[in-house]
Symmetry: C2
Subunit: 362 residues, 2 copies
């Protein structure tokens, strides 16, 4: 069977799939990509331990019907190297990829060596793809990185006040954002934040459909892709309990300027001492200071300050500050005390909230 497809479409589809499919694995079947030809559609699919993925290329010429498998990263490299605008795939005992004067034979593998991948037929809800991607990107920084941090590495999805909420927390800080969608969830589900990062690459324009089959996966379907994300086991922490409600001191800041100043000042902060930046709020000014073995940096910013308290000295991990402010433009920073979490929201309210626990000032 011979099919012809544009290089651009095929390279785009395999490059997305390749991000999920591991290049090495103790289970060799996991490194494979499956190609299914059905008329003018070519479907690429594969899996990792935490996700399944399928991307589809349409407008395939030649056609026929067949299923094949091969190492995903080999196929991806060959397709990306193709020198001509179109790529011919000739399936026999081997796959011969032909483009311009370049010809490559790739060993085929029996597709039965791959894990069985199933995508749901029915989806329960729809959501704007770009808004979903933005929501994931705006909170995922607050998730933990290290393996031992278990559920803290997750991104929780829950239905709250009629909206879909995405929440991440590593125990020292938290971020959530709300999205116009009815997930139909009775209790929160949690996906791994790093797999959610991959999902955002698939989320282009238009809408995607969402389902939670057997409450074991998050399944997302777009025009040219389907993806299953495994749900994490364990209970996501009861985060609302720790968000303060009383703020005796508040400031309004332009987030970009504030972040730039924190970055400059934190040059002198000691990475080994939590990258600490001191923050004195007083008289309509925020004074940022960092001190380490190399010297001391300081920057003073004018802010719009409101009471009832007139001053407060706090200390923060500089990175936690800049990440909390990252998704914001005009930001309201609300202090509940020197030793209590600070809260970051858009001025005038909005669908984003970040919280950062300060460092001890003594």
């Amino acid at each position: 069977m011979i099919v012809t497809v544009t290089k651009k479409a095929l390279a785009g589809a395999i490059s997305l799939a390749e991000r999920i499919i591991p290049s090495r694995s103790a289970a060799p079947g996991l490194t494979l990509v499956r190609l299914d030809v059905r008329g003018d559609r070519l479907t690429l699919s594969g899996a990792s331990h935490d996700a399944d993925v399928e991307t589809t290329v349409t407008g395939v010429e030649g056609g026929g019907e067949g299923s094949f498998a091969m190492p995903a990263h080999v196929f991806a490299q060959v397709v990306r190297a193709a020198p001509a605008q179109s790529v011919e795939l000739r399936f026999g005992k081997q796959l011969t990829v032909h483009s311009g004067s370049f010809k490559t034979n790739i060993q085929l593998v029996d597709p039965s060596q791959m894990p069985q991948i199933e995508f749901p037929e029915e989806y329960s809800t729809r959501v704007d793809a770009a808004a979903f991607a933005r929501a994931i990107s705006s909170v995922r920084y607050a998730a933990a990185m290290a393996e031992f941090q278990a559920i803290f590495r997750g991104l929780a999805l829950e239905q709250r006040n009629g909206k879909a909420r995405l929440v991440a927390t590593d125990g020292f800080r938290l971020a959530y954002t709300d999205l116009e969608a009815d997930l139909g969830l009775e209790k929160p589900v949690v996906v791994m934040a790093k797999i959610a990062d991959e999902l955002t690459r698939f989320l282009g324009g238009g809408e995607v459909e969402i389902a939670f089959p057997q409450q074991r996966r998050l399944s997302v379907r777009g025009e040219s892709f389907r993806m299953n994300l495994s749900l994490m086991e364990g209970n996501f922490p009861d985060y609302e309990r720790v968000i303060p409600a009383q703020f005796p001191l508040q400031v309004k800041v332009r987030a970009k300027e504030f972040v730039a100043a924190v970055n400059r000042v934190s040059l002198m902060a000691e990475k080994t001492a939590n990258n600490r930046v001191d923050m004195l709020v007083k008289g309509g000014q925020v004074t940022l200071t960092a001190e380490g073995s190399m010297g001391r940096s300081q920057e003073i910013l004018d802010v719009e300050q409101s009471g009832p308290e007139s001053e407060m000295l706090l200390a923060f991990n500089a990175r936690f500050l800049t990440e909390a402010l990252g998704p914001l433009e005009e930001a309201e920073v609300k202090f509940s005390g020197s030793a209590n979490p600070a809260v970051f929201t858009p001025v005038g309210g909005g669908d984003y909230l970040a919280m950062v626990v300060p460092l001890r000032t003594q």
Copy 2:
């Protein structure tokens, strides 16, 4: 003493110096940069085990006279972070760097803790800076990387046939290029290729002056910099002896197209087997083939072939081929036999020659 300087000039000067000065060293004095203020000139200097460097900023306002030292990488980071167009340097017990609303104190160190740096007053010759940089860049790839490879990590400079010649070889390949200059050298000198790389960053427009003080260093002086490169000890190999003179088969190729084809085909080559690509020259065509555990790639290129022999089968490390052809446009590839070195030169002659020893074909 207070001086003011534009951020752009200061950041440029410290960034160049910083590339030479190590960020960590068993000799802490080596991590320092020295600042000398003399009227409207600010000079930054520092050293590594293999090189000394000095960069100069002119148009400094304020002025005065003094010498100071501090960790180079700290100073560089602070200068780059400066938010305003100008930077004020206030020298006291500490250095206070002030730019816009940002202020940093950096601990100063006694400049006597730094190694003594001396640059020659007299230079023996002049060379076009851009041509010198191009010459270094076009041959340095052929130098060896690993520490144990001793003199093979070097770039040799010698005077030959009235020109300055730069040569690099790792024993498996070789490259040289000739430059219009009289180095006044009686025998070759060798500098470390990776330090020569750094020198190229200083080589902008105009001319630079060159000296070999006491045959112990290569010293280069430009309008706003001076640099000493230590000479390596040991004898550079007698490379001319191994360059073949008889070529029973030759082809002319467009280097860029040929390199692109080698890159595509070598996808299937085994990195652990010298990244081997087979090359069959026959009937006005070069057939490139690579085979590995994943499959087999092939590409056929039309070339201009000349005899007396009508065909030859060779094998090469793909990277050695692409690097040898890198500096060329229209290239002449001359074969002296399946087991003998191939030679790469510009069509119609020129100041560049590369040689690559083929892999065994059986």
